[in-house]
Symmetry: C2
């Protein structure tokens, strides 16, 4: 049975999402916790004379965040034999994913919070079903607040937010984002940037900050931070608002990558349940690179 | 010359404000940084054959925060010989406190930010001149956000904010807060609690949290956290809204002290400049305990 997990984490203490030997990663810590919770429900098998249980759980995630990047609306899935979930029971009669959620809360460190665990609808795939991912990038160019410094980039000197917003508008749409991606052989860098805006909110949780909202069907490696880096150059007055679009057209990397700690994965948008499988199939089919224009 | 400093810090990395041997404290780190900046302007003196400069600066502060307590609106002062301030100069013609501010920014760690440094008006005393101090205490009883966990208390289960607000109202006014203070021989525990309310803001930076605003002429040691602890018992339904007032009248400690990391000194209010010296004189005069009623 497939279980969907909704989670949040402070990226500061992690070498990113993906498991790496000898490093503390989100998938490593969460996978280990899932193994601990589920192991209790697994039969012990004897291999080469040793009693052992099944290996750590393989997690599939919507956004493979880099080292230092945070998440408030991350989504992952894992497949668990139904009889294992059924064996998760409490005295008050609860069973299955709600018990999994409760047990995880008891053992996870306080820089990861799993907000929800539920049986995924048919066809759900955390990685391939999403319609889009939305990230926020937060910058403070005024009075620095040490309490929020772990997720807000401090910038010396005021930023021209109108110029940054103008620069961002030029990048929205279907493009080859090779100039804003770390090269990976054989991987396409064509993406649809659905939203990219910069604002200085007067109210709400980000009041007074300079905040980018960046949404796309999917992102290339380090793409959001490269887009943000280009706009920061514009906001500082070192580049014209048209420069990021010129960089895009050149397909050559030119913009600095903004620091990881200002970036947070805020939301992953999935289609209605009856479109999950179709969407996953569409995404899996390799995107064709668009020809030079 | 007296210099007023306005500052903010993340209390997590400090054993409180007050200097303590072998511990990292706000006054220790800030005093050391001030010494470094000002030392360059001091003549070297030879004592017992050793070249040395003047000792670390003595800082006087508005709110001596405990270990783990944060500040966004802390105020301190220090006295500096005028010729030392005059010797702080930059090539672009700036001098005095603005240069002090710039130099401090260059050497302070990122968990302390000095927002302003200026010549204090006559009669100003960071500790004795304030009309009031205002603290905020932040609690999350819903969806836990790991990004703000360093300054928000996580609470399991929903809190009854209306009951907490009712409880808090009964404590406002001039009282002997012995039941909500760590005993100190010879020190009065009579204070005027000017404001104590609990809200669940719909909007603004604290949207969705449960937040106390606590303001008094001055606070006894651990008083805010004791008041908060009493109200949390009410919010959980373990005590009636009238209980904190009964505790107050008993003058015996009964409420748990809430954890430090939810507490932030938000603001110190000073009178107009022409009232600073009079106010300081009034505060210095020992408060008389009020007789049993």
């Amino acid at each position: 049975m497939r279980v969907r997990l909704d989670l949040a984490y402070d990226g500061a203490g992690f070498s990113g999402w993906a498991p790496q030997p000898g490093r503390r990663t989100v998938a490593g810590v969460l996978g280990g916790a899932l193994s601990t919770v589920l192991r209790a429900t697994e039969p012990v098998v004897v291999v080469d004379g040793c009693r052992q249980r099944v290996a750590p759980r393989r997690l599939v995630v919507a956004g493979r965040t880099d080292a230092g990047v945070h998440a408030r609306g991350q989504v992952a899935h894992l497949d668990v034999p139904v009889e294992q979930l059924d064996r998760l029971r409490t005295r008050d009669g609860a069973s299955g994913p709600p018990v999994l959620l409760r047990r995880l809360a008891g053992i996870l460190p306080d820089d990861i919070v799993v907000h929800a665990a539920r049986t995924a609808p048919p066809g759900f795939d955390a990685r391939f079903s999403p319609l889009s991912r939305r990230y926020a990038y937060r910058v403070c160019d005024g009075r620095h607040d040490p309490l929020t410094r772990s997720f807000v980039l401090w910038h010396r000197g005021g930023l021209n937010v109108a110029a940054m917003a103008e620069a961002a508008r030029g990048l929205v749409g279907l493009h080859d984002f090779a100039a804003y991606a770390k090269a990976r052989p054989e991987a396409t860098t064509v993406r649809t940037l659905l939203r990219f805006d910069w604002q200085r909110p007067d109210d709400g949780p980000d009041a007074g900050l300079v905040v980018a909202q960046v949404e796309a069907d999917a992102f290339c490696h380090s793409m959001v931070r490269s887009l943000v880096g280009a706009c920061l150059s514009v906001g500082e007055g070192r580049r014209d608002p048209g420069w990021p679009t010129q960089v895009l057209a050149s397909r050559c990397r030119a913009a600095a990558v903004a620091p990881a700690h200002g970036l947070t994965l805020e939301q992953v948008v999935y289609p209605p349940d009856d479109r999950l499988a179709v969407r996953a199939g569409q995404t899996r089919a390799r995107r064709d690179p668009i020809p030079p224009q």
